[in-house]
Amino acid sequence: MSTATTHDAHHEHQPSGIMRWLTTTNHKDIGTLYLLFSLLMFFIGGAMAMIIRAELFQPGLQMVNPDFFNQMTTMHALVMIFGAVMPAFVGLANWLVPMMIGAPDMALPRMNNWSFWILPFAFLMLLATLFMPGGAPAGGWTLYPPLSLQTGMAFPFLIFAIHMMGMSSIMGAINVVVTIFNMRAPGMTFMKMPLFVWTWLITAYLLIATMPVLAGSVTMLLTDKFFNTSFFNAAGGGDPVMFQHIFWFFGHPEVYILILPAFGIVSQIIPTFARKPLFGYSSMVYATASIAFLSFIVWGHHMFTVGMPIKGELFYMYATMLIAVPTGVKVFNWVSTMWKGSMTFETPMLFAVAFVFLFTIGGFSGLMLAITPVDFQYQETYFVVAHFHYVLVTGAIFAIMAAVYYWIPKWTGNMYDEKLGKLHFWISCISVNVLFFPQHFLGLAGMPRRIPDYAVQFTEFNMISSIGGFVFGLSQLMFAYIVFKTIRGGAKATDQVWEGAHGLEWTLPSPPPYHSFTTAPEVK
């Protein structure tokens, strides 16, 4: 491997300043860029959520006009899904996958650079629509026609931004697949891979299979609007409901894209702090694969009210409920891992345990929504909002934060401030429940989603929810402060960092060398 070492040494001569970051092909640099980009988008999307909650603080129109409110709900979703959660997971994959499988870098470093650097431009285009005549897209992130076709100047920008985000995700996903297939250290068989690597491999397949379908469906919207095609235009023989089928064929696997890597993260963290190996490793792998497979055949549960025959409704209902089985396997495995472990509760563990508990609440409300007859009542209410924020905020986002606390000592070589971390956890955990739990009640009582005004009987719960929202939003500034403080300094971290941590990434020094494993480690 001596040739490889000199080869790598040659690469250490990198440009400095901004050019270093623009031209970098290093998995750690690109991972850092992804994570920082995601943090920025998290605050932009969060600011939009603050506007939404401020407007909903009391009934009537206070702060913004209804059209701007609709722009906020639409943009909040697009920014958070495509700008915050997905890039954060890709960033984590970039940092961790090579280190976990004993590789020097990602398999396709130049494509890696490209897949990151088209993202800022995509979001520049998307966010620029806020300042255009007619404003940003306001028809909901699901872009249902014919409403979305009434978007003004923002429309082509929205579509091309989605195309670019899609390309970025597909390239990122291909890179992960190729890296995992071809770059594993000798002895690192598939069934020895850490679960974060496994869940990302399956997520990558979901991305490659579904992002092109989203690209296709928005391209059809584009040609319907500008080139006189009639995919979704009833006057020309098309059908608006068809868009929903195509969109949710992408959209349902997408929600697993947003949660499977989180499962992987939690499966890394809980064994460390329970000081026991993960319970049921192989069942975790199979459960993840089953969830991914089932995600392709349940999209109709987003569309129970479009006028489906009863057989279709029953099929989608049972198929959806079936997903609870592999998901249940995972939750029980995490709990069994903790069972009789010598647990300590450092910040990553706190977030991971909160994830297990709160994600399960989101899972249960999902099961309620899966029941066709009651879905007719819950459809388009705040119950749905409460459900997907439990799985995405206390699910995906909590897992990402757990991951950052868990691996940041490895990345920077510095320990984060444990006191502040715990404080951040407790404030977040309490406020996020104050924020989203009352929304279950609002939804069951009949408050529709995506409206700027509401009937007076919903006032109290909305006020409580908004107060929780402001506290949760502000407490994330603390997260940013902790992260930047850790980057700049702090107590030196050991190589293993955590007493119970196992895995190849913990055998590297903290911070790890620029090229992770220049000589492949031997995995026994």
């Binding site: 697949v177 490659i208 059809m220 006189n228 059908d239 006028g307 489906m308 025959p309």
Partner: protein
């Protein structure tokens, strides 16, 4: 594995994955005909069936009486008047029913409209066949012009036994702008 062999392997896998991505983009488009064929067979989206010889064999099933209701609507704020001549009528399966719809262009310019039919319940859609309909073609109305437009239909004898009432709905879409572009 040597560096070059690894590079080759990486490239090969990259291309395979790219092909999968491109194929899935195509699959998104393929869902359009699949959806249409599926809905044609099942009548799920309310699109009415086409005439087959069997339903026009002249035999009428006098043992059953089906109530057909007619409703009309105008898309968005299309400034037309549009109503059925009768709101409901009774037919036997296999019998040819005839009714008409009245539409009037209430604006000062010529306009072109396209009517889109839809039948519910969806299980009935595939069994509802029109032999004559203003929805088959685009309808050009001069300023202020109004006219009666006939519709002839047959409910075929395979209509599921539990269906006793079905609703035929027409929506007029303003396609003046679209037609102008293509002319």
């Amino acid at each position: 594995m040597s560096d070059t062999a690894l590079k080759q392997n990486n490239q090969r896998l990259l291309w395979r994955m790219l092909i999968v991505a491109v194929a899935m983009f195509g699959f998104g488009y393929l869902m359009v005909p699949i959806y249409n064929v599926f809905c044609d067979i099942t009548g799920l989206n309310g699109k009415t069936g086409s005439v087959d010889a069997q339903s026009l064999d002249g035999k009428v099933d006098l043992s059953r009486t089906i109530t057909v209701e007619f409703v009309t609507s105008l898309n968005e704020t299309m400034p037309w008047e549009f109503r059925p001549a009768v709101t409901r009528m009774q037919v036997h399966p296999g019998e040819i029913g005839t009714t008409s719809f009245y539409a009037r262009n209430m604006t000062g310019q010529a306009m072109v409209g396209q009517a889109i039919p839809s039948v519910s319940p969806s299980a009935a859609a595939a069994h509802f066949n029109k032999t004559e309909c203003f929805c088959f073609t685009q309808q050009r109305f001069e300023a202020g012009q109004g006219m009666d437009m006939p519709v002839r239909f047959v409910v075929d004898k395979d209509l599921p036994i539990e269906i006793k009432t079905l609703t035929l709905s027409y929506t007029f879409f303003d396609i003046t702008e679209k037609v102008k572009d293509t002319l």
